[in-house]
Symmetry: C2
Subunit: 523 residues, 2 copies
């Protein structure tokens, strides 16, 4: 008679049965029964990362592109800690995710062994749902609950702590059936009518889109509304996922620099939020405002977390009779640039070569300033941003997006400084032979901090301070680093070469890295 299923197998079978069939892993000893059980459940694809920030960022990218959670497998408190920054970004993106954090056996925790730490405190800080699974008789139901919680709108990080004995003891109940996420909640017609009346009032209205409103359908409906009512239309500064390209509306993002963002809201009497937060400055600065809307501006939340923003926007369009299609962004691309590589030709090279259906992962920071305009009329693509300000998500998110969408090319445009946080991602790209083009914008500086040092009003910028932003001593050689992790790479310093290399990436499967030597913004 075969051994009865253990807790680990019941857990993994439950995840797979609930539609979670990818697990990004960085396991340790306390996770060995989980790892062993992977061989019993071939439906689960396990993808190894060499650092937990890769694992959690990949799960975020996967979730943004599929709308479904991936699992992660992390090793006690320190493993969770290493993944924390990208869990913060995922929390801000409302990405569904199911973290499995291995822990000491229940009876072993009391001994304060070296890896013991306050997992509960750390996990709770980044998780919208959190549970410790104390027994193999409950672990399957706990897993089903975690998946359902992660999928309940608008999506959240769910973390299940898994003591080692919960894994290794027999689980006579076996796997649990999938649990049902909470449904989306409807918005009252009266509330929709109220907003429709505001839009008809003649007072200046700004519609701010965020989160799930930035799908093709959401932006098309919002553009119809805005054109019909003469309202301003903006979207949040760092969308989790925006569908863009020729034929879709060109929606301006709220500008990162607060002083310019304030101008975007100037004169706004009514701000209508559609799955977006009230706009505030990313950081505070001496003698500058935190809130970006003008005094007296009234804020109306049309759709938020529990709602379905697309449905709400369609209902609002109907209430307004806004049935005519909005003027679409014309389909156009920049010419193929030649000559020196500056931030405009850098962006033009990307815009000129962007393949149809690309997924752009944007962590180019200051070096990417011209890319949105250079791609807005290009072929349809998805655009994924750094939602939580914790740099180091770009390369991991590209891994997850490529796993989610094996038929699409992922373009990971990455700043040199940010790339260094989670470079280990390159190895997973090579191991899984993912169709990812990594473009590193190497300007040799934390250029954003040069700008920020000036902006915060810091009365200095002496040589010691500026030296903290200098990445040229020694220079970072991304071609060598990529080669060391099995990713073919090349360095370019002209727009012609960048364009040619992008073409080459688009025509060959698997990952490749292009290190583009660019000037720092404003230099």
């Amino acid at each position: 008679m075969p051994n009865p299923m253990n807790g680990a197998e019941a857990l993994i079978r439950t995840l797979a049965g609930s539609g979670v069939d990818v697990c990004f892993t960085n396991p340790g000893t306390s996770e060995m029964h989980f790892v062993a059980a992977l061989d019993q459940v071939p439906q689960m694809r396990a993808i190894l990362g060499l650092f937990e920030g890769v694992v959690t960022g990949a799960a975020d990218g996967y979730a943004r592109m599929t709308g479904r959670p991936a699992a992660t497998l992390l090793h006690l408190g320190p493993g969770l800690g290493n993944g924390l920054a990208n869990l913060h970004n995922a929390r801000r993106a409302h990405s569904p995710m199911v973290n499995i954090v291995g822990d000491h056996a229940t009876y072993h925790k009391q001994y304060d062994a070296p890896l013991e730490s306050d997992i509960d405190a750390i996990a709770s800080a980044v998780s919208g749902w959190y549970r410790r699974s104390m027994s193999p008789t409950t672990v399957a139901a706990d897993a089903a609950a975690a998946v359902a919680a992660s999928l309940s709108p608008p999506g959240r990080v769910a973390t299940l702590v898994l003591p080692a004995d919960t894994c290794w003891l027999p689980a006579p109940n076996g796997p649990a059936p999938a649990d049902t996420p909470l449904p989306t909640q409807p918005v009252d017609q009266a509330d929709i009518d109220t907003v429709a009346n505001l839009l008809r009032s003649g007072e200046q209205c700004t519609i701010l889109l965020g989160g799930r409103a930035l799908s093709a359908e959401g932006t098309l409906a919002a553009a119809r509304i805005a054109e019909s009512a003469g309202a301003n239309l903006l979207c949040e500064t760092f969308p989790a996922r925006q569908q863009r390209g020729g034929g879709l509306p060109d929606i301006s993002r709220v500008i990162y620099l607060a002083e310019f963002a304030q101008m975007q809201f100037e004169g706004t009497r009514h701000l209508i939020l559609v799955d977006a937060a009230e706009p505030v400055s990313f950081f505070a600065y001496p003698d500058k405002a935190s809130v970006l809307t003008p005094d007296g501006c009234e804020v109306h939340t049309l759709a938020a977390g529990p709602h379905d923003p697309e449905t709400v926007l369609e209902a609002l369009a109907s209430a307004l009779g806004a049935n005519d299609p909005a003027s679409p962004q014309p389909t156009t691309r920049p010419d193929r640039p030649i000559g020196a590589l500056d931030l405009n030709s850098f962006a033009a090279a990307i815009g000129a070569t962007l393949p149809d259906g690309a997924i752009v992962v944007d962590e180019a920071n200051t070096s990417g300033i011209s890319i949105p305009a250079a791609t807005v009329g290009g072929p349809r693509h998805d655009w994924l941003c750094l939602t939580g300000g914790a740099i180091g998500i770009g390369l991991p998110m590209a891994v997850g997006a490529a796993v989610a969408c094996p038929d699409r090319r992922v373009l990971s445009v990455e700043a040199d400084g940010s790339a260094m946080y989670t470079m280990q991602s390159l190895w997973t790209m090579a191991r899984e032979n993912l169709d990812i083009t990594v473009v590193i914008a190497n300007n040799g500086r934390y250029a954003v901090l040069d700008m920020e040092l000036d902006r915060v009003g810091a009365s200095a910028g002496g040589s010691t301070a500026r030296d903290m932003f200098d990445l040229k001593r020694p220079p970072l050689d991304f071609v060598s680093m990529a080669s060391g992790m099995g990713v073919e790479a090349v360095r370019v310093d002209t727009a012609d070469d960048l364009t040619a290399q992008l073409d080459r990436c688009n025509s060959e499967p698997g990952p490749r890295l292009i290190e583009a030597i660019v000037p720092a913004l404003g230099s």
Copy 2:
């Protein structure tokens, strides 16, 4: 009239005046005033790391070698999160450390800007002292209190959260004077006499040394006691810092594998703890004990956190009349090995070339199994271990140790898997031109997990599970990665070449990396 000093400058001046004159940094916008103020306080040496795990691990290495805290500069909750794993190790090492975690301005927190997170929960989980500095009138005193707390025995991680406006507003009080750490507490003579009587009783006693008892003085006193009384003498499995070499006692470490560790304690009637925790299994395993001492063994804590273990050991030696020097470990080295590189010749190469006064940072894991025996009779050296089980501290700790002791060579012996967590350390080694020899033991596997999968009794080890430990698809090329971060590197696959390259490293200043291709343990 010059501008009055701001909070940031008052803070940095207080740190420097309290003896904290090194700050490992990875700053962001909320830390710009701190960074700007560095130019006003040239006594503070700022050392940039490209990832926060480098920063916190370096501060740990610095503290272990100087007994003093370095400061770290971290960017809000995500920056703290990236540094969390090595803070966990530092907490376990009782390393004094002062983390400065920048945060949003006090009035800006309410707006839940993208980088807002529960710093209090995350920081409290790894800090022995924690405070949020709410005003520039208190920040200097807060900093002085943080330093004193970090230095209060046995040493702890102190974390000061620094809102941006606390930094940028004027600090009319200026810097604060240094605060006084708590003194060590004496151990009652009666308690010392009790232990002396146990040692004279004829019942089997084991003395377990840890923490600060592992200095040359502490181990010499303990060896005198053990020899005089016929007691067993052991030290904890992963010491924060152990002074070793010819002329010092050879003290066996408690073996990592619980089943062997239990044998070391077999027959022990009295366990005497000197700055060590009661020994427990690193992990739990099905049907294996968590506690390593035999049933009926009585545990006596002779010296713990508040005490000075060296003084207590000297007092115990006096009480016993144990005045004769213990038999020292003879001064001896292995012969220079030749031929194939296996784990014995790997260790012999290190033992044969270890320079006088070296600082060995040991994160070689399974590949390092033979190195302790190969170095025990070598020139005097310090040995730093992974105290908290969170891999990825070796390279950062080497940075900190080299900054702490510029006249000594640091030998960082590092496993391939662990190295990948915090490879960014290499760049800081190059930037600061630190005298570090990095030896990567590249066996192409998470070999410890092969062993652990067998040990936990996991009934499998199928191809999917074993694939999670495979670092050869693609192979990691550490020579390329090191070159990419400005560190000269070479690959060796014979014992002769390893020995020759170690000689070369010892004769040249600055960092160098040697990638040694070794077989996996047991393969």
